[in-house]
């Protein structure tokens, strides 16, 4: 090829854009660009950050504590003093929602972290070892998948008491399966690529290969699905709380608030609407962010 270029001299076009077309960008920078262009993902990220900051930082700035009850007041609709109104015990709804947000978001993140750890370890091991071990491990996943897990979670929570820790275990136990499958798929596709063969030929230990070479390359899908798992987990927590099986008073999460709101629906609809709104918006933004990340990190999905 270079011989040809010598013969031909300059490329036929003087257009500078043609000459410097290939300035390499790293995968992450490329992905960041794509994400930044996504019209739904960017506002979602902003709103998400806003809600999180408000939930964790907001109560410092607000005068009312979530415990302050004002029984004479009862439930009033939104007004100047109580921006989102109060509940039947006269507690300010906005503050309760913020505190509830702390719980809901924390559960979301922690349970996802649990599911993530188990799923990644399980999936990586299964995909890397391959062969019979892989087949067996995936069989186990298939069987567990076939079980009506939500049902079991309900049973667990009903019969073993409604402890907070159990909530993490139960929710995490449901969610790690999908993550394991995805990670395994990724690992399998990487496993036999040449750069792994090269690493093995160099004599690197299996563990080192897994942690230094394989896992970093699976980060893309892991990030995407972790982002999509959080809303799933939050939904599950809210669902359990709605049934009375999740977070217990005096702690409250958005699920608990929604439950209270549903009970008082006819007379005080705002008690349902506002917590519902917060939960929905958070799920909404998380999902859009997850979608955006998926589009950004998957080089196949070229829509421009």
């Amino acid at each position: 090829m270079s011989a040809l270029l010598e013969i031909l001299g300059k490329p036929p076009s003087d257009d500078p854009s043609l000459i410097e077309a290939e300035r390499g960008t790293s995968l992450w920078r490329d992905a960041w660009h794509r994400l930044a262009k996504n019209k739904m993902a960017v506002p979602s990220m902003i709103i998400l950050i806003a809600i999180t900051l408000a939930s964790f930082g907001g109560p410092f700035f607000l005068k009312q504590s979530y415990e302050t009850q004002d029984l004479r007041l009862g439930a009033v609709p939104p007004n100047v003093r109580h921006w989102l109104g109060t509940d039947t015990l006269g507690r300010d709804l906005f503050v309760r929602i913020l505190y509830g947000g702390q719980i809901s978001i924390s559960v979301g993140i922690c349970a996802t972290a649990v599911a993530l750890t188990i799923g990644v370890l399980y999936g990586t091991t299964s995909g890397f070892l391959g062969g019979k071990v892989d087949a067996l491990m995936m069989r186990v996943v298939d069987i567990i998948f076939a079980l009506p897990f939500t049902v079991f979670v309900i049973l667990l929570m009903v019969f073993f008491g409604r402890k907070f820790v159990l909530l993490f275990v139960a929710i995490g136990a449901v969610q790690w399966l999908v993550m394991a499958r995805i990670v395994r798929g990724q690992v399998l596709s990487l496993r036999y690529q040449e750069f792994i063969e090269a690493a093995e030929a160099l004599g690197l230990s299996k563990l080192r290969i897994i942690f230094r070479h394989i896992i970093p390359n699976t980060l893309g899908p892991i990030i995407v699905y972790a982002t999509l798992t959080v809303p799933s987990v939050m939904l599950l927590e809210a669902f359990l709380s709605f049934l009375g099986l999740g977070v217990q008073p005096p702690m409250s999460s958005w699920g608990v608030l929604i439950k209270e709101g549903a009970e008082a629906l006819e007379e005080f609809p705002w008690l349902l609407i506002f917590p519902g709104l917060f939960l929905s918006i958070t799920l909404f933004t998380l999902n859009f962010l997850g979608d955006g990340l998926r589009d950004a990190l998957d080089p196949r999905a070229s829509k421009d």
Binding site: L147, F159, L235, F239, L283
Partner: protein, 305 residues
């Protein structure tokens, strides 16, 4: 194909076995007994009850007896309603859940499929963002928020429907919308994804080179492959729909299997819980089987293995 079906049905047995065992032991090993919440039970009555339900036998014996009965198809008497059997209760409540599931599925398909197809035609434009966002709303507003909201708007404010109940045909509407919304959203997104994947394939270019109209390309070339993810999803989805969402049935006071199950769990109605779980498990397996058969039919590259 018959061998395939037979094999899958056989595989159902160990799965159900595991389900039954897990449930049985969760129930028995949990703290508290079935009659703790009954305040009117004197010690003698309690002993009689325990004898009636065989709770005074050793655990392994209870397990064995239970399994033996299940194989015969007898799920035992209900703990909460001693003069009714679980089989009866399931037989009564399941058809109601099934009907609710049917209407919800109809809503989900009628809304989700067109939305997904339309949004896949012009990705990343308004035609895409609007149905996609609506679909997202469907997923992100939980049914326990959506349900009461719909009740608030249509029953309490507008008066077009009743707040709860299942007697009139109109009672089907709000629950079906509530339950169907999330599924419609998933179906829309899956359809969109499947169609987009197909549109980027070479054989669509071949069809265009043949002079096929856009309508023809969508209907004859794209749908067959594009709907595959939706069909895969329908297996577990239909099982979920038919057993009825616990929440929706609770909100609208519908006497379906889901509500019975939740109540049974709270009341520690062991046999009812076990029966419902087994039934649910069997349904999931059967629906997955049906879906797999349909998938092979739709995708000529798959064969029954």
């Amino acid at each position: 194909m018959l061998r395939f079906v037979a094999r899958r049905l056989l595989q159902m047995i160990p799965v159900l076995f595991i389900i039954a065992t897990m449930t049985f032991f969760i129930l028995r090993l949990a703290p508290g007994g079935p009659f703790d919440s009954e305040k009117t039970v004197t010690p003698e009555i309690r002993k009689n009850l325990e004898a009636y339900y065989g709770l005074n036998k050793p655990l392994y014996r209870q397990y064995y007896d239970y399994l033996a009965n299940v194989i015969k198809g007898d799920l035992g008497p209900s703990f909460k309603y001693p003069n009714r059997t679980v089989n009866e209760l399931i037989g009564e409540s399941f058809p109601i859940s099934a009907e609710l599931g049917f209407w919800s599925l109809l809503v989900a398909l009628a809304v989700g499929l067109p939305a997904g197809i339309i949004s896949s035609l012009r990705p990343n434009t308004a035609i895409d963002y609007i149905p996609n966002s609506l679909a997202m709303v469907g997923i992100c507003v939980p049914n326990f928020v959506l349900g009461p909201l719909l009740v608030l708007i249509f029953a309490l404010t507008l008066g077009w429907a009743r707040v709860s109940g299942w007697d009139e045909p109109i009672d089907r509407v709000l629950p079906a919308l509530t339950l169907g919304a999330a599924y419609a959203a998933y179906i829309a997104r899956l359809t969109r994804g499947g169609m987009l994947e197909i549109f980027s394939q070479d054989f669509i270019r071949t069809a265009r080179a043949k002079g096929a109209s856009p309508l023809r390309i969508i209907l004859k070339h794209a749908l067959r492959g594009g709907l595959l993810p939706v069909v895969s999803y329908l297996g577990p989805a239909v099982a979920g729909l038919i057993t009825g969402s616990f929440v929706v049935e609770t909100i609208f006071q519908i006497p379906g299997l889901g509500r019975y199950f939740v109540n049974a769990a709270f009341n520690r109605d062991y046999t009812m819980v076990l029966g419902a779980v087994l039934f649910y498990g069997a349904l999931i397996v059967v629906f997955n089987l049906i879906v797999d058969v349909v998938l092979v039919w739709m995708n000529p590259r798959l064969k029954f293995e």
